[in-house]
Symmetry: C2
DNA sequence: AGTGGAAATAAGTATTTACTTATATAAGTC
DNA sequence: GACTTATATAAGTAAATACTTATTTCCACT
């Protein structure tokens, strides 16, 4: 749906690192705050942006909140990039206008 | 190579719009400056960022410069998203831990 | 070489944003 | 209900950035 928000969310290096870490192992806010050199509120703020981009998902576990990757936002981003990519490929096949390039792929 | 720069470049709405327009029809700086409600230098600055992210490519044509999409940066971004996506899918297949989701794909 | 047009760079500015510390909310435990 | 632990929100700040106008660079043409 909104690949725009996904792009904006993943543009920031810290937020991207948080997202990648969450992708490998779902984590609580505290675990993330321990693993990264920023404060807990900073982590929460980043998580909020990632959540609003549908890139992550929360699950309550007692008093903690476990953040994991959501497929919604990532899927939207993937669809966008993929469609753009195929457009570019077909434009290249048509025109073959890109001068400084060698073989395809 | 550097999907990071591609993400940062495409995060800005104006720059993303420029990139999408260039994807449809390669254009000169002047044409872009006419088509968008920003000044020519602003266009040039955005093009520079897109160029440094290997998302666009320049070709000289007389005194003008025609910008077209480059496959380098877009391919890098695509590879990143794609690999992340497949990781998420396999993690989902393993754990099936995402609570609020329905069927796969 | 001199002129004209196209694009890049320089310099300055207002907005955005990624952080901080302080505080509030929420859930589990006694 | 009081206390502790975990997370979110409030408020403020310094750095990044997307624009502007002014100027420079670069190419074509005479």
């Amino acid at each position: 749906m909104s690949y725009e928000k996904a792009l904006e969310a993943l543009a920031d290096p810290t937020r991207r690192a948080l997202f990648e870490r969450i992708g490998k192992t779902p984590s609580s806010v505290g675990e993330l705050a321990d693993a990264f050199p920023i404060s807990q509120p900073a982590v929460s703020q980043h998580l909020r942006v990632l959540r609003e981009a549908d890139l992550v998902q929360v699950r309550r576990e007692g008093t903690r909140r476990i953040y994991g990757v959501s497929r919604e936002g990532l899927g939207a981003l993937r669809a966008y990039v993929e469609s753009f990519w195929s457009d570019v490929l077909s434009a290249f096949a048509d025109g073959a206008s890109q001068s400084s390039e060698g073989a395809a792929q």
